[in-house]
C-alpha cells in the first residue's frame, strides 16, 4: 500500500512538470500585456513601460522565464504579482478563507440534498417522488449559475429585501451576530452553487443505488427478513457509495479553486474571482500560481480517491 502511494507520487512529478510547462508556455504565448493600462495613460512615457517590462523579466526568452519560475517555485517562492506588487502566496492565502467557506458549504449542501433524495428515489423507482426528483434535477442542472444567481438576487435582495447580495469580508458585528451575518450573506451563493451541484449528484447517487439494489445479495438480505431501512443503509448504500466517494474526492479541488461565475456575481473575494481578474489584467504570475496549485490538487485528490477506493472495497487491490 505505502509502496503504491509512493509510486503514484513519483509518477505525479513528471506529470506536474508537464502541466506546469504547458501552462507556462500557453500563458506566455497568450496575447496581452500586464502593463496595457499604461498604454493610454499620457502620464506614462513609453520608456517607463519598457523599463517595467525589463524589471519584471518580461523581455527574457520564454524558456529562461520558465526555468526561473520553476526554480523559484521549488524554493517555495510563488512569484510576485505585477499588478499588486506583492507576493502571490499572500494574495492567494487572503482569498482562500472565503472560497473554502462558500464553496465548501455549497458542497456540503449538495451532499445533504443529493444522498437522501437519490437514495429514496432509487428505492422507489418511477414513483411520484422519483419523477418529481428527476424533473427537478434536470431543471437544476440545465439552469446555469449566472442565471439562478441573478434570479435569486432579483427575488431575495431586490424584491423581498431579505438578503444582501454583496459579500463582505469585514462584518462589523462580533460573537453570535457575526456568525449570523456570515450565514445570512452566504445563503444565496451557497444555495445557487449547492443546488446546481445537488442536481447532477442526485442523478448520480440514484443510478449508483439502482445498480446495486438489483443485485442478488440484496434479495438475500431481504429474504433473511431484514427491515427495509437496514437493507438500504447497511447493505445497499455501503456498496453504492463507492463511486460517489470518487466523485466527491474529484470535486474537492474545486472547493479550493473557487467558482468563477458565482464569485463574480456575489462579489465573493475568493480564488475564482482572483483568477478571473488576474487573467483580465494579464497578471501572469498569479494566473500561473492559481492554475498550478489547482493542477497539484487534482493530482493529489485523484490519488486520495484511488486509495479510498481500495479501503472501501477490499475487492480492489492496489499494487
Amino acid at each position: 500500500m505505502s509502496q503504491y502511494v509512493l509510486r503514484r507520487l513519483m509518477i505525479a512529478i513528471p506529470s506536474l512538470l508537464g502541466i506546469s510547462a504547458v501552462l507556462f508556455f500557453v500563458l506566455a504565448l497568450a496575447p496581452g500585456d500586464p502593463f496595457s493600462e499604461l498604454a493610454t495613460n499620457p502620464n506614462v512615457p513609453p520608456e517607463v513601460q519598457a523599463a517595467l517590462r525589463a524589471k519584471f523579466g518580461l523581455d527574457d526568452p520564454i524558456y529562461l522565464r520558465y526555468l526561473h519560475w520553476l526554480n523559484a517555485m521549488l524554493h517555495g517562492d510563488w512569484g510576485f504579482s505585477f499588478v499588486s506588487r506583492m507576493n502571490v502566496d499572500t494574495l492567494i492565502l487572503q482569498r482562500l478563507p472565503a472560497t473554502l467557506y462558500v464553496i465548501g458549504s455549497a458542497q456540503v449542501l449538495a451532499l445533504l440534498i443529493a444522498i437522501p433524495v437519490g437514495v429514496y428515489a432509487a428505492t422507489k423507482p418511477y414513483s411520484l417522488f422519483d419523477q418529481v426528483a428527476n424533473t427537478l434535477a434536470f431543471v437544476g442542472f440545465s439552469l446555469p449559475t449566472f442565471f439562478t444567481g441573478i434570479l435569486f438576487i432579483l427575488i431575495f435582495s431586490v424584491t423581498l429585501d431579505w438578503l444582501p447580495f454583496v459579500y463582505t469580508t469585514d462584518i462589523k458585528a462580533t460573537g453570535i451576530h457575526w456568525v449570523l451575518e456570515m450565514i445570512r450573506q452566504a445563503i444565496m451563493p451557497v444555495a445557487v452553487l449547492g443546488l446546481f451541484q445537488a442536481a447532477s449528484m442526485t442523478r448520480f447517487v440514484r443510478s449508483a443505488m439502482l445498480d446495486v439494489i438489483r443485485l442478488d445479495y440484496v434479495t438475500t438480505a431481504r429474504a433473511k427478513g431484514l427491515g427495509q431501512a437496514k437493507v438500504i443503509i447497511k447493505h445497499v448504500m455501503r456498496n453504492a457509495m463507492i463511486p460517489v466517494v470518487t466523485l466527491i474526492a474529484l470535486q474537492m479541488p474545486a472547493v479550493f479553486g473557487g467558482a468563477i461565475v458565482t464569485e463574480q456575481i456575489f462579489r465573493i473575494p475568493g480564488i475564482g474571482s482572483l483568477l478571473i481578474s488576474s487573467i483580465l489584467s494579464n497578471d501572469t504570475p498569479v494566473v500561473m500560481a492559481v492554475t498550478f496549485v489547482f493542477a497539484c490538487l487534482v493530482v493529489l485528490f485523484n490519488l486520495i480517491a484511488d486509495v479510498l477506493y481500495g479501503w472501501l472495497d477490499p475487492r480492489i487491490s492496489l499494487r
Binding site: P31, G32, N43, V48, S81, M86, F165
Partner: protein, 596 residues
Amino acid sequence: MLDKELRSMIGDVKDGRMDRRAFIKRLAAVGLTAPMANQILALGGVAMAEGAQTYKPTKRGGGGALKLLWWQGPTLLNPHFATGTKDQDGSRLFYEPLACWDPDGNMKLVLAAEIPSIENGGLAADGKSVTWKLKPGVKWHDGKPFTADDVVFNWEYAKDPATSALTIATHRDITVEKVDDLTVRILFKKPTPFWADAFVGAPNTIIPKHLFADYTGSKSREAPTNLSPVGTGPYKFVEFKPGDLVRGQLNPDYHMPNRPYFDTVEMKGGGDAVSAARAVIQTGEYDFGWNIQVEDDVLLRLEKGGKGKTIYAVGGDTEFIALNFTDPNTEVDGERSSMKTKHPLFSDPAVRKALSMLVDRESVKKAIYGRAGRTTANFLNGPEKFVSKNTSWEFSIEKASKLLDDAGWKPGADGIREKDGKKLKIVYQTSINGPRQKTQAIIKQACQKAGIDVELKSVVASVFFSSDVANPDTYAHFYADIEMFQIPLSQPDPSQHMRRYMSANVATKENKWQGTNFPRWVNKDYDAAILAAESEMDPVKRAAHYIKANDLMFEDTVFIPVQHRLKVEAAANNLRPIISGWANETDNLHDWYREE
C-alpha cells in the same frame, strides 16, 4: 477673444468691479474652461479662488460608515505605482496632495496653506517656478510632522528611473527644492503655463519620507508601507485586500476642522457595473458606486422608486473614431500601416468628410449614452476654455452620398461604391465593450445606406490596449481602416493630450509602436501650433493655439468625435458626494457627508 479685453477684465476682477464668477462665465462664453479661467486669473495677478465650501457638518465624526463600491477594486496602495485610476482612488483615502480640483475646476487647498499666485509671490512672472507654502501642524498618521522634506523626497523618489514609478513623467523634468521647513519651490526648465501638475490631484499625492527613504530605487517594491499606507488624509489605514477591500477609520488628528464626517470608510471591489448600480440605487446596500458605465435606460429603470440616483460630472473625455492615414493592407518592410504608404481610400478628403457625416451622434447619444453623453464636433472637449466654437457636425446620408458621387465614387453592381477599381470597403475595429459594439452597429447601418461596406472587428480590451509589439491587434498598430476608443483627459489641461498627435510621434515598427500618433497623421501647421502653445505663457494665446490645433484635426477629419462622455456615478439619495470631472472620485472625499 481679444487680448486687451481680457486684460481689462482681469483688472476689473482685481479691483473688485467684476466678481470672479462673472469673469469665469464670460470666459466660458468664449470657450475657456473654469480651471483655465482660474489659472488665467492667477497669472494675471488675481489669486486663484478656493472652491466654494458646501460642507455642513459642525463636528468631526458621527457619520457612521461610508460604504463605497468600486467594481474594479484597488490592487495596490502606493500612488506612485498606481496603474489605473482605481489604485489612485484607493491611495487617495489615506494620502493627500497639496491641492485638489473641485467640480468647477477650481483649485482646493489640501496640504498647501495658500494657492500660489503672482501677488503672493508663489508664481514667477516668467512661469518658470512655483512656490508652495505648506500648511503648518499637519501630522502623518504615525504622529511625525509633515514638512517640506517629504515633498522634496517624493520628487527624488519618483524621478529615479530605478524606482519605476509611474509618476515619473510628472517629476523628471522639474527640480524641487526646500526653501524652509514649510516652503517648497518647483523649478521648471521652460515657461510652464500649466504649473499645477506635480503634487496636485489624486495621481500626485505625497508619501512620507520617513517610511520610504530606505526603499528608493530598485528596493522600492520591498517597502512594507506599499501595502499599509501611512498618510495625512482624513482616514487612517486599517486593512487592505488587493482587488477586494480597502478599509479606513477616522483620523482624529485630521488637519481640517470638523472633518471627516464618517467614522469609517470601506471600499469594496469586484463584480460588474450593472450590479454595482443595483446595490447603490436599488437596494441601498452601498452608499456610492464608482464609474457606472451602464446603458441609460437600465439606470432610469433602477432609479424608479430606488434608494439612490446617478450623478454626472463633466470632464474632457471624448469617444472618437480615428482614421488611418496609411494603408493597413500593404506590407512594407514587415510593417503594415507603414508611413511609406498612403491610405487608398482616405487619401481622398471627400471620403473622410462623408464618413464623418455618416456618424449619427444624436442616435448614439439617444440609444446608448443617454444622460452620460453629449454630441460634439470637436476632438478636444475640455477644459471649456480650449473647446473650439468654430466647428459643427451634421448627420446626413443624402449629403454624404452626394459628396461621394461628386468625388467620382459611383455605386457598383453590388451597391458598393468604387472608383478606379478601388471599392469603398473598410474595416472598423474597437475594443469589446457593450456600448462600443452598439455604436459600431449604428454607424455600419448608415454607411451601408450610403454605399460603404463596413466590416466590424472587436478586440478584447486587454489586447487592444496592450503595448505588445508582436500583436497586430493593438490600437497602436492600427491594422484597420478606422478604430474607435477614448483616451481619458486626466487633468484640466490639454497639453499632454494634444502633444500625442505631433508628426514626430507617429507609431511605427521602428519605435515598436510606442509612438503616440496612431492615426499617423502628419501636419506641419499642427506641429507648429502645439509647439507654440507649449511655450506660450499668455493663457489666452495658449488656448487659441490649442483651439487651432483642434480645428486642424477637424478640417482634416483625423478623428470623428462620437460622443463627449461624462463621468457617471451612483450615490445614495442622502449622500452628498463631491465629484469633479477633472479629478478622481475620491479627490474631494474629505468634504463628503450625509444629509440627516
